[in-house]
Amino acid sequence: MKYFHLIWAALFRRKTRTIFTLLSVLAAFLLFGMLDAVRSAFNAPPSAAGVSRLVVSSRISIIQPLPQSLLTRIQALPGVKDVAYANWFGGYYQEPKNQNLMFQIAVDPNYLDAYPELVLPADQRKAFNETRTGAILGEAAAKALNLKIGDKIPIKGAIFTNKASGDTTWTFDIVGIFKAAEDKQRGQENQMLFRWDYFDEGRTFGNGTIGWYIARVNDPNDSDKVAAAIDALSANSDHETKTQTEQAFQLAFVKQLGDIGLIVGAIMAAVFFTLILLTGNTMAQAVRERIPELAVLKTIGFSNKSVLGLVLAEAILLIVLGGVLGLLLAQVLLPAVNAGSGGRMNFPPIGGSTWTLGIALMLGIGLVVGVLPALRGMRLRIVDALAGR
């Protein structure tokens, strides 16, 4: 630590060069921070709730409906705490491009109990239970579409025809706005939930069938056993089910989008390879220029090892300085991107795991780019270096 001054002075010996290099490092780690956020936005955060909830869908395919009669049979199974169900609606408010801002799901009265992370004030919950045409939206969706409690909104559905209107337009009363309990679950605020009974009575086909069940288990360790028991209920029938934890369900869905992890990894590999070359060259240049100075240091008694340490520390300091600034910048920028996109994007904030990985990368890259120049500094012979040979 007592040499910190010396290292700092050496680092800023050539101000322009160091600042340009720092900015390159900063750009690389800014990208790392943002891409890691993209990656974790796609990989659903592992949560206890995700493991204790089972998603029961049709084995044939996710779009195939299930009979309502399964409800009581699933409820009766040992280990099942409660069961809720839901149906995909698939419509849009005003314009087709709003489809991704708010997707709609018809849910039964128990659904909100199964999702404690969706926080709805008690009076709004009561209003939802009492209003047949009631709907509740996530805060992000409400903000993006500029909707508030009390609004009456028409939703143009794509699948289900409404008996009342004769076409696929359904009208809902907004009675509540829910929030996600944690920031990293903000993605769930892009939905609108409405009552399944209103939906089922209104639609012209598919009545009495549901899209999927959500069963909560008493003990997450029993998940596999309970899932097998649920699937056994409908084995060899014409509506066989496939039951998996919500986490596994989401992971399988993300994998269908494509290998996001691989894409992010490939980009970062290209970025860091370039970065190593760039800073490695800067460090080599810096040491080459300072050979006489390093020789002076050795002359006045610095050991080979401490010269090695000094140069290595300088390289690591350079990378860590730029890297930390880059990650900080990413941390500031991400909420701005979220806000700027008007709810279209919900990147989770940069978390501890990103910082840990980032700092490990900084140290690693610092070592790699510093080692050759440092060895050169260590091995130089005082006489030759002072003579300029």
């Binding site: 322009t16 060069r17 340009f20 290099t21 900015l23 390159s24 750009a27 690389a28 800014l30 990208l31 943002m34 891409l35 084995r59 044939i60 395919s61 996710i62 779009i63 195939q64 698939g90 087709p96 489809q99 991704n100 143009k156 559905g157 794509a158 699948i159 076409d167 696929t168 086909f205 060899n236 014409d238 066989e240 496939k242 992971l251 399988a252 994998k255 269908q256 989008l257 494509g258 290998d259 490939a266 980009i267 290209a270 970025v271 390879f273 370039t274 970065l275 070359l277 760039l278 060259n281 800067t282 080599a284 240049q285």
Partner: protein, 434 residues
């Protein structure tokens, strides 16, 4: 004064980048030709040429630091071209699907086949509408279709993916003449048989001809493989009546019909409007499939641009570092030339040209690596019908050109400032140094 010139530099950069963005490639050739003429026939031009020659000749001595520019820019261009190639591949696959001569008729308001529904009665009515081409026997070339999704594991990840199964009517092959059976035979009418698209065969497990798959508790046999050169290659096809029975559907989802001519779409639409029983919309299949690629293509392009800009900024600083160092090591040489009568402009031009040559080399390298690794690299993602669309990356010449534009822009910015410093070096101090 100094502030003013710096301001001027920034304006020059902005203008240069704008010109580069809008520039088509023939204009660049003209520009290069003009530069060559200037170098050949004017005094300052000849000076610039000789200074540039010296600069370029010394590159091998500074190989390490010059490679920073090349590799840095190759990284930017490589990543950018690869991402854009992904967007382009997806867009092309869907744009090639469908044409202006065929129309898809779905329920009004439906954005994808999966959301649509057309009853059997409606399908019969639709087939008789005006504007639809009839075959030699007088039957309309229209195919009522049903798209369902089956869980079939991906070869790469072994997790279940949604694969599209399309039930097609008897006229489907007359409707889409580009669909060709490459091995095996067509599915039999009324049988639980499927043919598999080339793309689906490559991406998903257990679909080889002769094998059986389980759909809704029934065994289906794969009888053949088809090729169509478009998004249908991601699908499995079977008889619509059998698929509909298996998935317990009452009707179809869409009717696709061949039009007598592209203009007949209006005729067809008028026919639909005239029949109060029909609540459906018609559009050409090329419109329908092209619209499906818009969202994903835009997301990938925006992501590519953001990543490109951030990486580009990093590369600009790398280039600045290298060129400042290059100018510093050649300070004496440049000052000598200034002392014997070379003007400032040739010095600026030579440093700028040298950087842009290195940048061009980097851009070519990056685009080449992206082409080598990613051209025709096949992946699949979730498409509009909640099922997998198989597509291949396409590194097109247009993408390479836009990658090279980025490289030249980075080279220009990275070279301009060091070039200005070189030209401004006070001759006396520079000669005394070292």
């Amino acid at each position: 004064m100094r502030f003013l010139t710096n301001l001027l530099l920034i304006v020059v950069i902005a203008v240069a980048i704008f010109v580069l963005v809008v520039l088509p490639w023939p204009a660049l050739i003209v520009l290069v030709a003009l530069l060559a003429l200037w170098m050949a026939f004017t005094r300052t031009g000849r000076q610039a040429w000789s200074v540039t020659k010296v600069g370029v000749a010394t590159i091998p001595q500074r190989l390490g630091s010059s490679s920073v520019i090349i590799v840095g820019i190759a990284g930017v261009v490589g990543v950018l071209v690869a991402l854009l190639a992904m967007a382009e591949g997806f867009r092309q696959t869907l744009a090639q699907t469908g044409d202006a001569d065929t129309a898809i008729i779905m329920r009004g308001g439906a954005t994808a086949e999966l959301n649509s529904g057309v009853s059997r009665d409606d399908a019969t009515l639709i087939a008789q509408l005006p504007g639809i081409l009839k075959d030699a026997e007088g039957k309309p070339i229209a195919s009522p279709e049903l798209v369902v999704v089956a869980n079939i594991p991906k070869k790469t990840s072994a997790t279940d993916a949604n694969v599209e199964i399309r039930g097609v009517g008897a006229q489907a092959f007359a409707l889409r003449p580009n669909v060709k059976i490459t091995s095996g035979k067509r599915f039999g009418e009324g049988l639980r048989e499927l043919i598999v698209g080339k793309g689906a065969l490559a991406q998903f497990a257990g679909l080889d001809p002769g094998s059986t798959i389980n759909l809704g508790n029934q065994q289906w046999t794969i009888t053949g493989v088809f090729e169509s050169g478009d998004a249908h290659e991601s699908e499995l096809w079977g008889d619509v009546e059998v698929v509909s029975a298996t998935y317990r559907r009452q009707g179809y989802q869409s009717v696709t019909a061949r039009l007598t001519s592209p203009e007949a779409l209006d005729q067809l639409k008028a026919g639909i409007a005239a029949d109060p029983r029909l609540k459906v919309d018609a559009k050409t299949t090329s419109d329908y499939y092209s619209a499906q690629s818009e969202n994903l293509t835009r997301v990938i392009k925006v992501m590519g641009m953001i990543i490109g800009v951030i990486m580009g900024i990093g590369a600009v600083f790398g280039a600045l570092n290298t060129m400042y160092a290059a100018v510093a090591t050649r300070a004496r040489e440049i000052a000598t030339m200034r002392a014997i009568g070379f003007r400032g402009l040739p010095v600026v031009v030579s440093v700028l040209l040298e950087t842009m040559l290195l940048a061009l080399a980097g851009g070519l390298l990056g685009a080449f690596v992206a082409w080598l690794i990613f051209n025709n690299y096949t992946v699949s993602t979730l498409g509009q019908n909640f099922s997998q669309v198989v597509f291949a990356f396409k590194v097109s010449p247009a993408l390479v050109w836009s990658g090279l534009k980025w490289a030249l822009a980075i080279g220009f910015i990275g070279g301009l400032f060091p070039a200005m410093r070189a030209a401004r070096l006070p001759v006396t101090t520079a000669l005394r140094e070292l």
